[in-house]
């Protein structure tokens, strides 16, 4: 297929470089510099999509971000699928592969048109809401029929970056205003970021008819860009959309680094760049130079391919060398619409007529109007195109005289043969970003558009604030840039504006929906929102059904709900609402603008935070050994802890844990306990502080001794536990649970800083500094004795004491504390030397049967002893008394420790509180399920839950399953039976027993 609509010269494309692409499976050619849209138009492709609701044919309407129809499913392979790409923003590249998101289906098309009268606004709400459970099913079908694109089913082979940036001035948009602002701010020495969403900077200057300093405007763009590129503190971000503006001038910029290069990101200099980068920018000042979107007119059948924005017609001709038709009718209510006709005529194609809604006298002073008249173009004043004719492409325009205030046509209707209708109803300043934080834009009658409301740190300029004459735009840009720089303490020098001829502009007429000889409800469809198939009639119907708020109308009709967020149609929709409710547009107001301005790839949102970088993994100093040994790992907080060490013979978890348990009970095992939180506490008042923080007593703990402590929140509920050691009179080492370490440190700081600043005490985390090797089992003393100079005699180094000495050539602190109930030595060495000591242990340990064990074995062993794990036996609603740990509560301490008062509340004194007990299944082969609900009377109805299983394991030592549980009043129910009805219908039976299953007198740890 040849490029039938391509001009022989003109435009900013490179005719020497031919690029091949496919659209809906058909091969086409375009040129470097094309967008997918301009290339499709060059090839005379009329229909690019089918509509959402009625499956009507749709063509390209616009040339930028506001395009509602040319929405593509991109990607040559499954992995590179990207939905909802606007062809107008997609640069053409060799091998580009695109499909309509909603391709043609005869059936849907017929059904859509046949049943159109049966699909009123609110159709989906009215039809698919019952039964509610079916919505998930309906939604899938509707989504598919609506052509909303699809995500890839394979993982994305490209990667994405995030970067955080700070600047004094962020200029959004590199059109005339933005370039001028960046120049002013840049010359002041301020830190400037200039971003622009298009393939090249310049905005409307790239297709402007006007001259700057007597040269084409694009030459000025080049000179400004060259100067900015040389400024050290200016960062230029092309192909970068400012997507969201958040509180305190935080903006996200979506930079597409490789979308223009290929389906897959190609290697450049041996490195594969990121496909896209999300910039998180904190800007001192934001210059909003986003320009304006042209507003189409709403007339009957205005959705037929061949209906376009007047400005887009000019852009395709002047920037891409493409005339998207042969015979043009322009329908406009202001001067700028004439430019499309002038460009069309200059390209050598036929302008059938310019239809101007204004009377001759009101329009004729305009510069472009006079130029068109001078060139002999036919101008029909006081009229508008009221209806387009055609099936898959415009074949004619019906023109009639209109009375705007009365909203009616007058006289007869004239039919003009044409294939393209270019319409323009004026401009909508692009206020989206200025409204993202919730600020509502303000309507201005003089420019017939909404402009940004005043916001601190945000300076709208140029088209974004309703300034359209080029000379004024440049001036406002310079002023905005200077003002922004000044706000950041920088002075901009005087800047000479390029010379521009000031042209005469006649007042525009306020035309949105064009009247039709038939009423809105009876006329052929007049589309307001092309992407969501919302017509003027639907909006009128919504207002008749009582929807008065624009937000309600929006939701009822789905206006602006598409991926284009109603950029093209929303203001017209508001005008229709205003007309129906006999209100002004200012009174009608806008809907809320939300990020993102245009769709963002999920990959860019995720950035590098995926897979192994999604969440930090914390390793101990011994991690490499665990990996080599083939350990299975368990996540404990962010730590990776060895769970168990299966033998290479394919040992099951059950077998491995049983083996590890037996080794500790019968010989000796070693656990990497380095993840325990460790807090070094120094100061004269540590004992006093500990007495207030912990439930038990600390004033008499002597140097050289350690003590277990329970920590409660002020509500009396257990929050942490651990052993704290007295290293010196003013020096203690607190250990915390692995997961609670950071929280406990904050808790200590909180109480010290806010309640007891008079206490001399300070806390420093030493969790990462010390590696902790727990050697435990009957043979522990023999093993350690081979490696240390510490006297391990049972009478000199007793249980709950610590010593310093040499272990395997490394200075160590050794604590005789036990979480297994066996003879235990916890060796602490500086982490650098941990691997050395660990390996030495195994060199000596072979003959004693030294076995590394993981967290699962640790859990079984401690549960056999009835030792709690905070977060497993407790859940924030368990007091020390509920745990049966009254021995660990200093009721008579002089200072009211945290949680004490809460323990005297009636609720914490209740006798039927859930209390910790042991459970022994009656069937000894059963291992109860953790979390299983406990009842006293399994036959009762309703059945009352009286507790649940908190920990449950098989004990290789005891030879049966056992569990810890909380049961209402359980401590007084020893020996009673409880029942556990399970989901499979089986009811387990267990006996309430003491939670200490093994060595109840604690003799083994004292040996």
């Amino acid at each position: 297929m040849t490029q039938t609509n391509r001009l022989n010269k003109g435009g900013r494309i490179d005719r020497q470089r031919i690029l091949n692409f496919t659209f809906n499976g058909q091969r086409y050619e375009g040129h470097a510099g094309d967008t997918l849209a301009s290339a499709l138009l060059a090839n005379g492709v009329n229909v690019v999509n089918r509509s959402f609701k009625y499956s009507r044919p749709r063509g390209i309407v616009a040339a930028g971000a506001e395009e509602p129809n040319a929405v593509m499913q991109m990607g040559a392979t499954e992995a590179t699928q990207i939905p909802n790409v606007r062809a107008t923003q997609q640069a053409l590249f060799e091998g580009l592969c695109a499909r309509s998101t909603n391709p043609h289906s005869e059936l849907l098309s017929t059904l859509g048109n046949l049943f159109a009268p049966l699909i009123p606004p609110g159709f989906y709400y009215k039809t698919f809401m019952q039964p509610a459970s079916m919505w998930m099913t309906y939604e899938k079908v509707i989504r598919k029929a609506a052509g909303l694109g699809r995500s890839p089913r394979e993982s994305d082979p490209d990667h994405y970056e995030h970067i955080k940036r700070h600047c004094d001035v962020l200029v959004i948009g590199a059109g005339a205003a933005g370039l001028a602002a960046a120049l002013a701010a840049g010359r002041s020495g301020a830190r400037v970021i200039l971003c622009d969403e298009q393939e090249e900077p310049g905005g409307s200057l790239l297709d402007s008819r006007e001259l700057l300093d007597g040269r084409p405007a694009s030459a000025w763009v080049e000179s400004v860009m060259a100067e900015l590129a040389n400024m050290e503190e200016v960062l230029l971000l092309p192909r970068t959309t400012a997507n969201g503006l958040h509180d305190h001038n935080f903006i996200t910029l979506y930079e597409r680094r490789a979308e223009h290069l290929g389906d897959l990101v190609p290697e450049i200099d041996g490195r594969k760049p990121a496909r896209a980068c999300l910039h998180h920018v904190r800007a001192g000042q934001i210059v909003l130079a986003t320009g304006a979107h042209e507003r189409p007119l709403v007339y009957a059948s205005n959705d037929l391919p061949g209906n376009m924005l007047a400005g887009a017609v000019s852009t395709y001709i002047r920037r891409y060398g493409v005339v998207p038709g042969k015979r043009l009718v322009v329908s406009t209510c202001h001067d700028d619409g004439y430019r499309a006709a002038l460009d069309w005529a200059e390209a050598g194609h036929q302008v059938v007529a310019i239809v101007d809604a204004r009377k001759h006298n009101d329009a004729a002073t305009g510069h472009w109007v006079r130029l068109a008249a001078k060139q002999g173009l036919q101008i029909i004043y006081g009229s508008a195109v009221i209806e387009a004719k055609g099936k898959n492409r415009v074949t004619g325009a019906r023109v009639a005289e209109i009375d705007i205030p009365e909203f009616q046509t007058r006289g007869s209707v004239t039919d003009l043969a044409c294939d393209t209708i270019a319409s323009s109803g004026g401009y909508n300043p692009v206020v989206h970003l200025a409204s993202h934080t919730g600020a509502r834009p303000v309507w201005r009658d003089d420019i017939m558009g909404f402009v940004p409301t005043k916001m601190t740190g945000l300076i709208p300029t140029g088209g974004a604030t309703g300034i359209y004459a080029l000379a004024d735009v440049l001036k406002s840009g310079i002023e905005a840039g200077s003002e922004a720089a000044l706000a950041c303490g920088r002075q901009s020098p005087e800047i000479d504006l390029p010379e521009v001829d000031r042209i005469e502009i006649a007042q525009a007429a306020p035309l949105f929906q064009v009247p039709h000889p038939k009423t809105t409800l009876r006329a052929p469809k007049q589309f307001v929102d092309l992407q969501n198939d919302v017509t003027a009639a639907a909006i009128e119907l919504a207002t008749r059904e009582g929807f008065e708020s624009i937000e309600h109308v929006k939701r009822y009709t789905a206006m602006g709900f598409g991926t284009d967020q109603g950029k093209l149609g929303n203001i017209n929709g508001m005008a229709v609402v205003a007309r129906c409710l006999k209100k002004s547009i200012a009174e009608t107001g806008t809907t809320v603008f939300r990020p993102n301005y245009t769709p963002v790839a999920f990959g860019a949102i995720a950035g590098p935070h995926r897979r192994e970088l999604f969440d930090p993994e914390r390793y101990t100093a011994l991690h490499a050994w665990h990996v080599d040994r083939g350990a299975a790992f368990e996540d404990v907080g962010q730590w990776k802890r060895p769970w168990y060490y299966p033998q290479s013979t394919g040992e099951s978890m059950h077998d491995a844990v049983a083996r590890e348990c037996r080794a500790v009970r019968e010989k000796v095992g070693v656990l990497d306990a380095s993840t325990l939180g460790k807090i070094d506490i120094q100061g004269k008042d540590v004992r006093e502080f500990l007495g207030r923080i912990y439930t038990n007593k600390w004033e008499k703990l002597p140097v050289g001794k350690a003590r277990y402590g329970l920590m409660c929140k002020d509500d009396g509920m257990v929050m942490d536990d651990g052993v704290t050691t007295c290293l010196g009179d003013n020096h203690f080492l607190m250990t915390t649970t692995t997961g609670g370490a950071a929280g406990v440190l904050e808790w200590l700081e909180l109480w010290h800083q806010t309640e007891w600043p008079e206490l001399d005490v300070s806390f420093t985390s030493v969790t990462d500094h010390w590696a902790t090797l727990m050697v435990t089992g009957p043979e522990a003393r023999h093993l350690l004795a081979e490696m240390t100079d510490i006297d391990l005699d049972r009478d000199t180094f007793k249980f709950m004491e610590w010593r310093e000495g040499d272990v395997a050539g490394v200075p160590a602190r050794v604590y005789r504390i036990s979480f297994t109930g066996e003879l235990s030595y916890e060796i602490n060495v500086q982490a650098h030397y941990a691997m050395h000591v660990w390996k030495k242990l195994f060199e000596h340990g072979d003959k004693y049967g030294l076995t590394p064990y993981g967290t699962e074995t640790m859990h079984v062993l401690r549960a056999e002893k009835g030792f709690i794990i905070v977060g497993q036996e407790t859940d924030g609603s368990v007091t020390p008394e509920d745990l049966g740990m009254q021995w660990c509560v200093g009721y008579d301490k002089p200072f009211s420790w945290i949680g004490k008062r809460a323990l005297t509340r009636p609720d914490t004194r209740r006798e039927d509180r859930k209390q910790m007990v042991g459970l022994k299944p009656v069937d000894q082969t059963v291992v109860l399920q953790e979390g299983a609900q406990i009842v006293f009377e399994p036959k009762a109805s309703p059945i009352a839950m009286v507790g649940h299983v908190t920990s449950s394991y098989y004990s290789p030592t005891l030879g049966h399953g056992f569990a810890l549980a909380v049961v209402k009043g359980g401590q007084k129910r020893m020996g009673e039976r409880v029942y556990l009805p399970m989901a499979d219908g089986v009811t387990q039976v267990a006996e309430i027993v003491s939670p200490i299953f093994y060595d109840p007198k604690g003799e083994r740890q004292n040996v």
């Binding site: 830190r191 998180h280 970088l613 991690h623 100061g683 009179d729 990462d768 500094h769 010390w770 650098h832």
Partner: protein, 210 residues
């Protein structure tokens, strides 16, 4: 026994020591960057890291006498001299980094100077390490990792902050115009190593053993 237990934790004989990046370097040995490396990473392992807590009045004189460094009192600043540095971390907290092996003698000397006052000195040498970043794109790699503004106008030489870094925390310091230093916790070292390799890949990143 003294009121605070100061403990020589360094072995006197030859004992294999592993820095926090030992495992990472083994698992992810870094091939030299193709072409010119934009970022060069170098660990400065086994340095002495001491945390000092107390008021400036209590610490100032003794610290100067023992280390020759002035206690920085401007928030987020540091004073360095040769291979020693002292960084403000909080109104009552400083990080003293010295050459390897000096933790015991320095703590002893400091306690001797400071006497019985209200202060704390904690040896954290095993729990953290210094990673140096240099090269033309070092700042970009850091910008990918932290929300801190690292521009020379706001982050001049001699500044150091403790802040969020990737999805954990780190201390970022700028001892001079050419180098950046990260002080990283041992348990997060491997995560941050992989993070930095990923962030530096587009510029070419290489490691340098020192």
């Amino acid at each position: 026994m003294s009121k605070v237990e100061v403990f020589q934790q360094q072995p006197s004989g030859a004992v294999a020591a592993e820095s926090p990046f030992h495992f990472s370097r083994q698992r992810n040995p870094l091939a030299p960057a193709k072409g010119e490396a934009g970022v060069i990473m170098a660990e400065r392992p086994f340095l002495t890291h001491l945390i000092l807590r107390g008021t400036p009045e209590v610490l100032l004189g003794g610290v100067r006498n023992v280390t020759g460094l002035t206690l920085p009192q401007t928030p987020c600043s540091m004073n360095s001299k040769e291979d020693k540095s002292l960084q403000w971390l909080a109104p009552d907290e400083w990080l003293l980094i010295l050459p390897p092996g000096s933790e015991f003698s320095t703590e002893k000397a400091l306690r001797g100077e400071l006497g019985d006052g209200s202060y704390a000195i904690v040896n954290v040498s095993g729990g953290q390490t210094v990673l140096e970043l240099s090269g033309p794109n070092a700042r970009e790699v850091l910008m990918k990792s932290t929300s801190c503004d690292l521009h020379p106008r706001t982050f001049p030489e001699g500044r150091g902050v403790s802040t969020v870094f990737a999805k954990t925390g780190a201390i970022i310091r700028r001892p001079d115009a050419q180098r950046w230093e990260l002080v990283i916790r041992r348990s997060f070292a491997d995560y941050l190593y992989r993070w930095l390799l990923s962030a530096g890949a587009e510029y070419g990143i290489t490691t340098q053993e020192r």
